[in-house]
Amino acid sequence: MFLQTIVNGLLMGGVYGLATIGFSVVWGVMGIINLAHGAYVMIGAYVAYVLNQWLGLDPFLAMAGAMPVLFVIGYVLQVALLNPVMRTSLLLTLVVTFGIDLILIDTFVQIFSSDVRGVQTAYSGRSLALGPVLIPYVRLAAAVLSVAVATAAYLFLNRTRTGQAILATALDREAARLMGIVPERIYGLTGGLSAAVTGAAGCLASTLFPISPTLGLTFLGAVFVITVLGGIGSVPGVILAGFAYALVQAFASTYLGANYQEIVAFSMFLVVLIVRPQGLFGKRFYGEAAS
C-alpha cells in the first residue's frame, strides 16, 4: 500500500504542477494573482471533452487544439482587462480576475449545464502491473505529458529570446524597456502562454476528474498552495512542489481518509509559510512586479 500510495501521488503531481506553471509565472512576471486561472483548467477540459465527443479525438491529442484556444482567451483577457488595471492595486486585479472567473463559469453552465461529464478512452481503466503496484495508463500518460509540457515551458522561458524578454520584464520593467522590450506586449504574451499551458493541464485533467463548470475551483486552491511552495515564478519549483503536494494528499487520503487530504495539504502549506516563506525550492526570479 505504501508503494502504491507513492505511485498515486507521483502520477497526480505532474498534472498539479503543470496546472500551476501559468499561475506562478503570471504572478511572478506581472504580480497578478489570477483568480480566473482555475477556469482555464476547466475550459481546457471542456475542449478535450468536445473534441472527444465530436471527433473521437483522444484527450491527450486534444491538447493541440486546446492550447491555441486558451492562448487566444488568455491573451485577449490580459490585454483588454488586466493590462489596464495591473499597475493600480492588487485588490483591483483580484476583483477583476474573480469577475472573469464567474463570467467564464456561468458561460459554461449556460452552454453545457451543470451536469458532470467524463472522457473515456480505450485504455481507461487499464493498468500496468509492476508487482503489487498498479499504474493506470491514463495517469501514467498524464504524468509523462505534464513533465514534457513543463520542460518545454521551462526551455521556452530560459532558452528563447521571447522567454528572456519575459524574465527581464519580471525582474525590472523599466530596464526591460531600455532594451527595446514593450512590457504591454510581454504581459499579453505571458497571459496567453500561461492560459495555453493551463489548458493543456485541463486536457489531462479531463481524463482524471469529473468535468463540470466548477472543475477549476478544485484546482485553484491547489495551484495557490503549489505556487507558494515552489517559489513564485519558478517552473522547476512548481513541478517539484506539485509532486510534494500530490504525495501529501495521497498519503493523507490512504492513511487518514479522503476527507483529510485537503486538510493535511493546506496544513503543510501553513507550516511552510511560517518556516520557509520563500517556498521549498526557492525562486528563479521575483521581480518588481511581484514585490
Binding site: 528572456q164 527581464a168 525582474l171 523599466e174 531600455l178 532594451m179 527595446g180 522590450i181 521581480g287
Partner: protein, 239 residues
C-alpha cells in the same frame, strides 16, 4: 559640428513636482558631452527624458533631426539611443551573457556575436564569468556588464549615468578609457552624467552645469574646468 541630440525648452515633472525648467542642451555628433551638478540638480531626470523614461511636459527632444519627445523608451533604443542607468539596473536573476544578449534585443540579436566579441575585448574578465548571475557580481563588474549591455545595442548615442559611483579609482579609469575608445574608434556620441566633475570634464569635449533643474553654465569642458565658480562649487577647490 552638427548636434545628434538637441533639447529645446524641455520641462519635466514627477506628478505635481517639476524637476526641469526650460532646458536647452545639445550633444554634438561624435563628441562627449558632460552633464554635471550637485545632488538633486536634475541630471538623472534629464537622462530619463532623453532615454524616454520620463515624458517632458514641454519642449522638444530632437534626435537625428526628428522630434522624439513622444517616442517611448522601448522605441528609442531601436533609433540608436542606449542608456547605462544609474545603479546599473542589471537583470540580477539572469546571467552576464543573458544580460548582454538582451542589450541586442532591439536588433533581434542580428550580428550579436561580433558585438559580444567587442565586449569581451573591452572587458575580458566578463567572458570568464559569462554564466554567473549578474546579481552576484562586484560593483565594478556590474558596471562593465551595464556598459557592455549598452554596447550590444550598437548605439549612436550612449547615455552614461553616474558611471563612477561607488567604484574604486582604478576601475573608474578603465571604464573612462573604454568610453574614450568607444567615442574615438567608433564615433559614438556620449552624454556623461557624473558627480565626479573633475573626471567628467576631463573626458568630455563640452559640458553643461545643472542647478536645481536649470542649465546655469555650458561651454567647452576645458573652459568649465578652469572656471573658478565650477571649481569652487563642484570640485571643492578655492579660487
Amino acid at each position: 559640428m552638427t548636434a545628434l541630440l538637441g533639447l529645446e525648452g524641455v520641462e519635466a515633472a514627477y506628478g505635481e513636482s517639476q524637476v526641469l525648467w526650460d532646458i536647452d542642451f545639445a550633444a554634438e555628433t561624435g563628441r562627449i558631452t558632460a552633464l554635471v551638478g550637485s545632488n538633486g540638480a536634475g541630471k538623472t531626470s534629464l537622462m530619463r527624458v532623453i532615454s524616454g523614461l520620463l515624458k517632458p511636459t514641454a519642449g522638444r527632444v530632437i534626435f537625428d533631426g526628428a522630434d522624439i519627445a513622444k517616442v517611448p523608451a522601448e522605441a528609442r533604443v531601436g533609433r540608436g539611443i542606449a542608456l547605462v542607468p544609474e545603479g546599473r539596473r542589471l537583470f540580477a536573476g539572469l546571467s552576464v551573457l543573458e544580460n548582454l544578449m538582451l542589450g541586442a534585443f532591439s536588433r533581434r540579436e542580428r550580428g550579436a556575436e561580433a558585438d559580444l566579441a567587442r565586449v569581451w575585448q573591452h572587458f575580458p574578465e566578463l567572458e570568464g564569468i559569462a554564466g554567473q548571475l549578474a546579481g552576484t557580481l562586484s560593483g565594478g563588474q556590474q558596471q562593465m556588464c551595464a556598459i557592455g549591455r549598452a554596447m550590444m545595442a550598437r548605439p549612436r548615442l550612449l547615455l552614461v549615468d553616474e558611471m563612477s559611483l561607488g567604484l574604486a579609482p582604478v576601475i573608474v579609469d578603465r571604464l573612462a578609457a573604454t568610453l574614450r575608445d568607444l567615442n574615438r574608434a567608433d564615433g559614438t556620441t556620449i552624454v556623461l552624467v557624473e558627480q565626479d566633475v573633475d573626471l567628467a570634464l576631463e573626458i568630455a569635449d563640452r559640458g553643461y552645469v545643472l542647478d536645481t533643474g536649470r542649465v546655469v553654465m555650458n561651454g567647452a569642458a576645458e573652459t568649465l574646468r578652469d572656471d573658478p565658480r565650477v571649481r569652487e562649487a563642484y570640485m571643492g577647490m578655492a579660487n
